[in-house]
Subunit: 217 residues, 6 copies
């Protein structure tokens, strides 16, 4: 059974963490699709571009290029990973036919890597999307700003969508955006959100455990 993993770009700020994820991915036998975010590198390059007056298009393209650099780093460390980072869903599917592990970054401007991960999960017929996130679970509100925020270990996509809709930053590139929810729900893929600083949680998800939040259709 195929699994798709979304790695928060923040993971790439910590090189020991990258090496530990590489080890986990190398040692498993399952077929695994991986989508990685751009992280701090992306943020830094986008900030320079914005300061210099670059268009949002190029800001997005820089974020994509940075996420691909992260993806290539992981490729270089994972045995059985496809040597090239696919640049579109068609390329991902092509690579998926011949490699146990395929690792991608972003695909197109206007599409978050969360959406890419959802599309990839759907395309390879995965029943689970494991999101190694920059938060440890889904909350009723941002726990860093609101101490009353309640942790939600188990929820449905309808509930998640309401949470996202009520958030003040629609269309932003958060953990989950409306687009990725729509895709995961239409194909009934279970989403696991867990603390990306803990690679052992990915192994837990593979065993069917829920180390953070689980969203089901």
């Amino acid at each position: 059974m195929a699994l798709v993993v979304k790695l928060s770009g923040r993971i790439f700020n910590d090189e020991a963490l990258v090496l530990r994820y590489a080890k986990v991915l190398s040692e498993r036998q399952e077929r695994i699709g991986v989508v990685v975010g751009g992280g701090d590198i992306a943020r830094r390059y986008i900030a320079v571009a914005r300061r210099g007056g670059a268009s949002p298009t190029f800001q997005d393209l820089l974020g994509i290029q940075a996420s691909r650099l992260n993806a290539l780093l992981l490729v270089s460390l994972v045995s059985d990973a496809c040597p090239r980072v696919p640049a579109s869903l068609e390329e991902f599917l092509d690579a998926w036919r011949r490699c146990r592990v395929v690792i991608a970054g972003g695909f197109q401007p206007g599409q978050s890597t969360a959406t890419v991960a959802a599309l990839v999960a759907e395309a390879v017929g995965a029943s689970v999307l494991a999101n190694a996130a920059s938060v440890d679970a889904i909350y009723t509100d941002d726990p860093r700003r609101n101490p009353e925020a309640k942790r939600l270990p188990e929820l449905k996509y309808d509930e998640l969508e309401k949470l996202v809709r009520s958030s003040p930053a629609p269309g932003g590139y958060e953990l989950v955006d409306p687009w990725s929810i729509a895709i995961l729900r239409r194909s009934c893929i279970s989403l696991y959100v867990f603390d990306g600083r803990r690679p052992e949680y990915l192994l837990a998800v593979m065993r069917g455990e829920n180390p953070g939040s689980r969203v089901v259709c």
Copy 2:
């Protein structure tokens, strides 16, 4: 000044209409980016695929391929149009450097052609996106189902977003989806929505008139 036009896929059901749009695009001197929808051909192929159990990924890919067939038809009829239909935003920008008119269909699964049109408008620095739609304007509700629906000649993106959020089909591929609104708003591009069966309305938009609805930031 560059202009971007979104042509509803429905226009391609009526060949006389296609020829009239081709004439309008050929006779102008402006630089024009065009994004076309998949229309009935897309719907028909997606329906067969769904009946046969094809994945949503391939349903999306079929819709994209159909929209590119529509785009190529228009290319064949418009003088100065770039001969190849770009398959990504990078390819669009590349083509834009050497042709007065560039015509595209969809780019990636999980992205409506409405979103593609918004991304293209942003990428080429257009101040206007002219949407030759399957409706004649934006209404407070679907006028085909609700006779009380009020026509909105002028509105802001905030209002449009509220309308879209309250609609029962979030994440669908409608006239405007939350994603395209977010892009148009962040770059402050004016959106004109008008009846796609009236190519003369496109000329009206070029003259600065508003034959349907106008959305501003």
Copy 3:
């Protein structure tokens, strides 16, 4: 042993028929190359383009694009089919190295899908090309126009070539054109022509039967 199948574009006018062919292709174990025609969609788009004054080049390109849409539909329905529709013989050979079934449409302007099928059969070393045609066999003349036309269950390429040469439409994109005959003959590939509305006939050809006409070198 590899088999190559040419599917008449007309098959794609009948969605139940498409689903039945998809089932046949999915259930077999053999390696199968498939080339599909453009059918009515191609004809319709080419007609609009011609009416609008498009060049023959673009008319051909539209036919190719339509045949690729048909090919992608079949890809979406056949398990083990390569996810991308190859756009040239090199791409076909590349795909053939990694998928049991590879499905293509046209390759280049000035080349019928009949010729593409012959080239593909030669390239993969197939000994048989099964042509699921818009006619049920080869006749001495067009049976729809000439009631005296005799059905030919078995013939040699020399005879077929004389028939084609004496036909009034040289260079057209018929069932078999001089080019595809030349290729099939030089590589001594047997051609089976049978009624494309009968998918069971494809199974018959796989069993070595001749449900229509057989042409040998």
Copy 4:
């Protein structure tokens, strides 16, 4: 007005001749499309491949690759020539939008460079195809074998087609094959055939003279 020139591969056996053609192409101001044959290099590589049991597909691919080597040599010598040799008609059209001179070899197996030249002439809207041939004109029969063969300074495509049909080698890669005739006729492009060892004859054709044979629709 655009002109398309077909250069016989034999021209590339004589380096002084190549340099003279390069000079002619460099000094003109017209937009010129050029298609070159594979010549002796192609023949030699194909012969080795055949001796070693290579398939006809690879023999064709070697001929194409050799013709592209000839094309690249000419590119290196002609100012204003597009730096890359296009590998398909779409790539040719793309290059044609930005370079005064575009030089190609073959495109696809099963397609002679004569056919490629006809397709290119049609695609760029040329009214003339100038064929710098390995013969000095069209004859009623092969003048090297039949001393009675009559030179034909002026003929129609109907007559040319009858000549080609009566020749003993249908489907071969001669000066003109049925496919290229069909293309040139459908777009009413005049074909000039002249002695390829005389670059000055190309200039003559540009002046409207007929230094060999002219075929009209």
Copy 5:
């Protein structure tokens, strides 16, 4: 007259410096080819890859990918720059036909960006390669380690080659490697080496001044 500029990757550690270079490149009218190094980002990613046991091939590929991220940042900031970062010399030449400014990073493993810059200078026929370096000039020895090192304002490629040959790190990716010297010398391109922290020195080189070292053939 075309100019080629090599920007040390170190420049990209300082965002104000990047913006100043972008301004210089935007304001000029000349045609300018730019090749940028990977800088600290490259070094950091390569170090993680090496620690994790990645092959030298992937270490090189990471360096190339990082240099392309730097290149894309500059593209986003320079008006008239080609939107895509070329990945090979052929792509560079193609882009050069249609944009005033073309910006690249590395091309292939085993090739320093210094060599890429030399190849690009040769390919576009530049007479000058301006190297905005991490040192302020060429010295007889490394001035950071040897206080006796003498600054060389003017030298010949023969002398430079002797200096490079006597250095303890043959084959490394320094300012100039034997390969780039061989290319610059064979095409007699003048090399200016100057302090990359001073964008005004690039303007000086454009005026024919020598703000650091000049190497001639």
Copy 6:
């Protein structure tokens, strides 16, 4: 264990020799990467280009194109060889994932096929690079010019580098250039140099014998 073979372009002057190498490569079970030189065809095309004033860039590109023609010939003759000749190291790695034998020519201007072979050996993790050369071993000097030259059956990369450094043609495209030495040494790949006219010597190298010179780190 993977093996990489470098075939001197001269081998392609002798068609019987090409067929014998094809037989050796076809009959083995090992995974083999092959890099071939351009040989006399390359030299001849480069000479014409130089006479006509073509730039060194195009001279290099012609050499690469000629080497790819040689590579394609070998592809056509070797069973299990990947059908397409990879044009970059990324493409080589991609092909390597799905074919037992992958055959390439040159990659980029400014990079000898000797360097390409070293890069390929490193990329696929080969421990041996077998160089079927135009000489029968490494000598202390050119044995064709200096009768005192001593044959070196066994040497270290340090010694080889000194020999190459003292040669009068730095940067030329010889048997081994400083770049390929640097790569082979950094990855500790053993280099076997032997007489390319003797395909049986390749078998000897596969058995661990040394029919010419061996260079180790």
